[in-house]
């Protein structure tokens, strides 16, 4: 595929892997190289529109796969390494080339012990709220974001609800919710 070739040319070693699924092309880049990679994709290949960015929590998927391989091969060691070696979170950037109308999905993997990612707000203003939402829902922090605070949940909410270990019915946080206590709201 020509697009794949072009991406390899501009990203070089930063293009860790390609992944094609249902007609969508995903390219994985290292977490620390995300901003230079996006910049070069924007300037060289014309992916000048950021459609969206969001997080994915893969922990349940790894657990399921580990369980499956345990059952299959009775190999406990392998199963354990699978769930512990792969980073827990993903952030996916949906890019769009406005002249050729091609789409590209850029993926980074974010391990649980290092949840800081460089912010894309310097490249696109559009990254502002999606990054705040990603922080709100997954706890991934975006370094260099102008105003990283919760977007959909309230400020004192103790958890990150889209993580797989957060229960669907919630944990009863709304019962001791304070509406804008002093020092946190816009009013201060």
């Amino acid at each position: 595929m020509a697009l794949k070739h072009d991406i390899l040319k501009v990203l070089g070693n930063n293009a860790l892997s390609f992944d094609e699924s249902a007609g969508c092309l995903f390219v994985e880049v290292p977490k620390d190289e995300i901003i230079p990679s996006l910049k070069i994709l924007k300037s060289e290949l014309g992916f000048d529109f950021l459609s969206d960015l969001f997080g994915v929590d893969n922990s349940a998927l790894y657990a399921k796969k580990a369980k499956k391989s345990k059952k299959d091969e009775n190999n406990e060691e392998q199963a354990d390494t699978l769930s512990s070696s792969l980073p827990r979170f993903e952030v996916i950037y949906l890019l769009l080339n406005l002249t050729t109308n091609k789409r590209l999905q850029v993926r980074i993997r974010v391990p649980e012990d290092d949840l800081t990612v460089e912010s894309a707000t310097s490249l696109w203003k559009a990254a502002n709220w999606p990054e705040r939402e990603c922080y709100d829902m997954f706890g991934i922090k975006f370094k260099g974001h102008p105003y990283l605070r919760r977007l959909l949940m309230w400020e004192e909410f103790p958890a990150h609800p889209l993580r797989k270990d957060y229960p669907l019915e919630g944990m009863g946080e709304e019962r001791d919710m304070k509406y804008e206590p002093e020092g946190t709201g816009h009013w201060t």
Partner: protein, 376 residues
């Protein structure tokens, strides 16, 4: 202290809280406006009042059970949401949808596009003090809802379609109903046009209010009518053609200045274009035999293969996309909705800086922010 407050720290201002429960805010939105005299220096936005955790819910429901939830995103055009979600799942499964089902989907989506634009134009008029066009238009919207109701029993939250096709054919006397509706719609749009477009007061209130340049709009991630109002000819129906849209002949209207007036005009013209599409789609529909299938071959329990997909359609508001990750089970592993007005609303502070406080309402109205899809 947020960036907006830092910017105006040296100014003398009064804080005015608009919303979340306020008749002029469309749904539960909250804008905290810092005004000096009547000029808005900046606004802080607070959203999330209608956050229902739709994405979390989606992870715990089967693929078919999620369709009714998508109704509650943009509730002014629920059918567009249903179709967007179904198409994303179908793309993930690699299904081919029968032509008849595609045509019914197009007819229904375009009807809901007209209904959505009617809400915008009508309410924009009400917000600016013009009450009459609201009635002209809403009478026709009622007729559209009659058609929806009579197709599958629901008016607002349609739960239209199934994964792999649609549930039933168009009712037998659709043609007659559509011809009547078209006549009424034409009349209502023309009269609204006569009442508003060249009206001195309307022009004063809308032309040059909260303009945005094409470059800024793209930087902010604008799509749909708000982007087209800035002069960017971009419509997913033409640019990334899906379904049968390449077969139809229709125009993409664009504006120039990206102000409230252009956003209004783009939508007025788009309603006419949608009527044209429905006419052509219905002509194709009539040529199909009665025995044409409505559903592709779909298993009873939907288990898409492991993988991920992003698919977007042109909803009345702009690019409505669904990212779905499947782990091979009967429930999606992750669903992410890309609502068009989420991206548009984050630019609100930029749009409204230096405008009058009354124009804040006009600007908000013209962006068509729907809280259901904004907060999910």
């Amino acid at each position: 202290m947020g960036p907006v407050k830092q910017r105006i720290a040296n100014e003398d201002y009064v804080t005015i809280n608009v919303g979340p429960s306020h008749p002029a805010m469309h749904g539960t939105l909250r804008a905290i406006a810092y005004v000096s005299g009547e000029t808005v220096l900046g606004t802080d936005l607070e959203i999330g009042y209608l956050h229902r955790g739709v994405e979390k819910l989606g992870e715990n429901l089967t693929y078919h059970q999620f369709i009714p939830i998508t109704d509650r995103l943009n509730y002014c055009s629920a059918i567009a949401n249903n179709v967007a979600y179904e198409m994303a799942v179908e793309k993930l499964m690699g299904l081919d949808i029968p032509i008849k089902a595609q045509l019914i989907r197009i007819i229904m989506t375009e009807l809901s596009r007209i209904a959505d634009h009617i809400v915008l134009v009508g309410i924009l008029g009400v917000d600016l003090g013009a009450f009459t066009p609201f009635f002209y238009l809403f009478l026709q919207r009622e007729e559209i809802y009659e058609i929806f109701e009579w197709y599958n029993g629901a008016r607002l939250t349609n739960t239209f379609g199934r994964i792999g096709g649609v549930e039933s054919e168009l009712p037998e006397d659709f043609e007659q109903r559509w011809l009547e509706l078209k006549k009424g719609l034409d009349k209502a749009i023309t009269e609204t046009d006569k009442l508003l477009t060249r009206n001195r007061i309307w022009m004063d209130r809308t032309i040059g209010v909260s303009p945005i340049s094409a470059q800024d709009a793209l930087d902010w991630g604008f799509t749909g009518p708000c982007l087209r109002a800035c002069g960017v000819k971009r419509d997913l129906r033409k640019d990334e053609p899906y379904s049968l849209y390449p077969e139809f002949d229709f125009e993409i209207p664009t504006g120039e200045n990206g102000d409230v007036f252009d956003r209004y005009m783009v939508r007025m013209v788009e309603m006419h274009e949608s009527v044209k599409i429905i006419d052509q789609a219905f002509k194709m529909y009539k040529e199909l035999g009665p025995d044409e299938p409505l559903m592709a071959k779909v298993p009873k329990i939907i288990r898409p293969p492991e993988g991920e997909v992003y698919h977007a359609i042109e909803s009345p508001n702009g690019e409505l996309g669904f990212y779905i990750k499947s782990d091979g089970s009967d429930k999606p592993y992750r669903i992410k909705i890309r609502p068009p007005c989420f991206m548009i609303f984050q630019a609100f502070d930029d749009l409204i800086q230096g405008e009058m406080i009354s124009d804040l309402i006009a600007c908000l109205s013209s962006l068509n922010i729907i809280a259901g899809e904004l907060d999910r």
